[in-house]
């Protein structure tokens, strides 16, 4: 299914694609560079890719930390809702919870009214929502986070492919050069003998 073309995607979301080299000699002629300059150019490309990779990895770590947080919030809202439901037919027992007041110091809280929660939206803003609204909002945030993570992972895969292609190209250019030198030495040695 994959077409045997010379190179795949030329770039993806700002990341330049590394073009695959069919023939090293042609490639060097195309670039108009000698071997050393070509190697320097390719090494620079590799460094740029590494920088982008660091950035993407940091973003991935942030998202991977955010997702369990959202899931914990959903858990609490679900617990409050369940408490409210059982509270309607049984005796309305408040939810007692121990929470951290400061590092190492805990206090007991009595949560009576479970019909609404306050959600921290960031930027020093906190809003009160009904349990259902809070659930919907948190679910949406969770889905967005998971979707962003997927896109990020695909970006990283693309990037790593380009890094691999560049590394292989560097090895091949270097080997071609070594090979050329050997041929030259061999012809020079044989012409000396004759």
């Amino acid at each position: 299914m994959a077409s045997p073309s010379t190179s795949a995607v030329t770039e993806r979301r700002g990341i330049p694609g590394a073009s695959f080299v069919e023939d090293v000699q042609q490639y060097l002629a195309q670039l108009g560079l000698d071997v050393n300059s070509a190697l320097v150019f390719l090494q620079e490309r590799l460094q740029q890719y590494k920088l982008v990779e660091m950035k993407l990895l940091a973003q991935q770590r942030d998202l991977q930390a955010k997702i369990p947080d959202i899931e914990k919030c959903l858990d609490i809202v679900a617990t409050l809702q369940a408490k409210k439901e059982t509270g309607e037919d049984a005796c309305t027992e408040a939810l007692i919870a121990d929470f951290e007041v400061s590092e190492g110091i805990y206090s007991r809280a009595r949560i009576e009214d479970s019909s609404s929660v306050c959600l921290w939206l960031g930027a020093n803003v906190m809003l009160e929502y009904s349990c259902d609204e809070a659930n919907a909002l948190l679910q949406k945030n969770l889905e967005n986070a998971k979707a962003s993570l997927e896109v990020l992972v695909t970006d990283l895969q693309f990037l790593r492919d380009q890094v691999t292609i560049t590394q292989v190209t560097i090895a091949r250019v270097y080997n071609w050069d070594v090979h050329q030198r050997r041929i030259k030495q061999a012809t020079a040695a044989s012409s000396k003998d004759t």
Partner: protein, 126 residues
Amino acid sequence: MQQGGGSETEVTWEDQQNINKFGRLNNRLHELQDEIKISKEANESLEDAGNELILTDDEVIRFQIGEVFAHMPKEEVEERIEQMKKTTSKNLEKLEEEKNSVLAQMAELKKILYGKFKDSINLEDD
């Protein structure tokens, strides 16, 4: 991952794609190994918690939800822990399955790539 010899074996686009795929699989393998380790530790913690529950006399247990410890009756805590154990075990199974599939694919690719490039390529974990 790669090292060059001085050979002149040509690298085709298909070879490059195989090398890329191997790289991706190798990365995924390391990620899976980390995830499996975390999942196993979570399973063990849940086991320990379950055992503690059996031993304790308390009727009300403080169960951690998010950042707070909610007071819950023992039975409910037992149920929750059972539920969590089931989820983590299923997750662990899925991860192990994926890991085996990745290892199989990597073995296939190793055969193909070593077959063509022999000593010119190094596909081992350093």
